[in-house]
């Protein structure tokens, strides 16, 4: 009975999915995408039914804000973003190999078992955030995945240090860049393959890792099973999924996804103006300081004269969150929020603030975070690609 009902919902709601999207746009304008109607429209394997469907082929699924009440984002709620439609759907782990080749002493072809047994396992809690997270909040609007705040997640990643694997292969003198490619493939012969690169010093820093485990379980296929690159503090575009080839280069890597895509203006906060686009751009890299509200939710009713628990998460590119402040008077006065225990410098840092609104009416709360290096958030921001948002977020509630 349940199956029949689900099947019915799937087919009937799917037909109306396109019609639902314009309605979502209105929600985005005030802070984040709305979750879809229960049961539909499309459910992806190993993923919760309430993920927000941006696109189906290739899949882009957004995490609804309520999942950020957990410090670690559940695997089945973790956002999904692929670039090329031919994504891996079947992996035989007995056949799978990670190849390390190029400017090395010994080229390697490691099985999953060898990766798990020949190197010391390490773990890190780290935020994976899409470069275009919150793009739908940019004004004027820009083309691209129309994400609310849910193109991110925080997980405990377990695997091996990239450095240990590269040491086993042995970098030859003059190794400059390392490129990374997964099992996803372009839909057309002329479409550039998805390959990202890091400079050799970054790749060898001991923090970059290859993860085979996410929050204590194997990675969902849509998050990069069986292994993905983890680049703590850097945007998700570098976290290559279903990682299968590592190439060590003796010269600078020049690929489409570094030279043409995922680039940002060089000005502070990646700023530029719609009528004066930056002439110079660089590959996007480390994450900016951010903080978002988790509760209450946008438009929620709260009581005047009564203590309300306000909560959210803050994070940055790895300096660590030092301070989170709240303003209830449009930025004139700021009060420190309480910080929960530190799960690591690359993790979400939960903050809490007890707010007792005095008078009834529409109210607005703002939040800003500052990291250990004193970097904080900006008041307004725009760039053509909708990247690297670090605007102080706000939330409007009704006090009754």
């Amino acid at each position: 009975m349940e199956l029949k009902r689900r099947a019915f919902l799937k087919y009937s709601l799917a037909a109306g999915a396109a019609a639902l999207l314009p309605a979502c746009d209105q929600q985005k304008a005030v802070g984040g995408n709305a979750p879809p109607a229960p049961g539909g429209p499309l459910r992806f394997p190993e993923k919760s039914a309430d993920l927000i469907l941006l696109t189906d082929r290739p899949p882009q699924l957004e995490t609804p804000i309520h999942y950020f009440r957990d410090d670690l984002t559940p695997n089945d709620a973790f956002f999904v973003r692929w670039h090329l439609a031919n994504i891996p759907t079947t992996i035989d782990t007995r056949m799978f190999r990670l190849d390390i080749k190029g400017h090395v002493q010994n080229a390697l072809s490691l099985s999953l078992k060898e990766l798990k047994t020949q190197f010391s396992p390490v773990s890190v809690v780290a935020v994976n955030q899409c470069a275009g997270n919150s793009r739908s909040l940019y004004q004027p609007r820009v083309p691209g995945g129309q994400w609310g705040h849910g193109a991110m997640g925080n997980a405990r990643w377990t695997g091996v240090r990239l450095k240990d694997v590269l040491d086993k292969a042995g970098l030859k003198l003059g190794a400059t860049d390392i490129s990374f490619q997964g099992l996803d493939a372009p839909p057309q012969a002329k479409t550039p393959e998805f390959v990202k690169s890091l400079d050799a010093a970054h790749a060898m820093d001991g923090d970059v890792m290859i993860a085979y485990d996410m929050n204590g379980a194997a990675l969902p296929m849509l998050n990069g099973f069986p292994i993905r690159l983890i680049v703590p503090g850097w945007y998700g575009t570098y976290w290559v999924k279903a990682l299968s080839t590592i190439t060590v280069l003796s010269e600078k890597f020049h690929g489409f996804w570094m030279d043409k895509a995922y680039r940002m203006p060089t000005a502070p906060d990646a700023q530029e103006l719609p009528d004066k686009l930056a002439a110079e751009t660089v590959p996007i890299a480390g994450m900016s300081v951010r903080s978002i509200f988790v509760t209450p939710s946008q438009g929620e009713q709260i009581s005047a004269g009564k203590a309300t628990e306000v909560e959210g998460v803050a994070f940055d590119g790895g300096k660590g969150i030092a301070k989170v402040e709240i303003s209830s008077d449009v930025g004139q006065n700021w009060v420190s929020a309480r910080l929960d225990s530190d799960l690591g410098k690359y993790s979400f840092r939960r903050w809490r603030y007890t707010w007792t609104p005095a008078a009834a009416g529409a109210a607005k709360l703002m939040v800003r975070a500052t990291n250990a290096a004193g970097e904080t958030q900006t008041e307004s921001q725009w760039n053509r690609s909708g990247y690297r948002r670090n605007v102080m977020e706000s939330i409007e509630v009704k006090v009754i």
Partner: protein, 116 residues
């Protein structure tokens, strides 16, 4: 004879299933497989629809367009140019106006969607 062969075949199949299940208990020796949901949303009728479905949807679903806000014609022209020059879409030059026109008809910004 046939019966014996059938029994033997059945045993082989069962053994095969058992072997697969048994191997399945070892996390390092399994085949993992998913099936992606297929769902083609309604593609609105209009001039240029055929070029749009055959060229754009060859690489990505229509939701890549329908999730976008309404943009002026210039933005859609840039997007189509980018798809051809940068992403290698096999769109003939004479199809470009049809595709841009269709994109404007479904996701064009109101003030600029009717330049006639």
């Amino acid at each position: 004879m046939k019966k014996i062969a059938l029994v033997a075949a059945t045993i082989c199949v069962l053994a095969g299933v058992f072997f697969f299940v048994f191997k399945g208990a070892d996390a390092d020796a399994t085949v993992k497989s998913i099936v992606l949901p297929i769902d083609v949303p309604e593609i609105a009728a209009g001039p240029g629809r055929d070029a749009y479905t055959s060229k754009c949807m060859a690489c990505h679903s229509s939701r890549y367009v329908t999730m976008q806000p309404e943009f002026p014609r210039k933005v859609w022209e840039n997007e189509v140019t980018k798809m051809i020059k940068v992403y290698g879409a096999s769109i003939d030059q004479d199809q470009v106006p049809d595709i841009v026109g269709y994109l404007v008809s479904i996701r064009g910004a109101p003030e600029k969607s009717a330049p006639k």
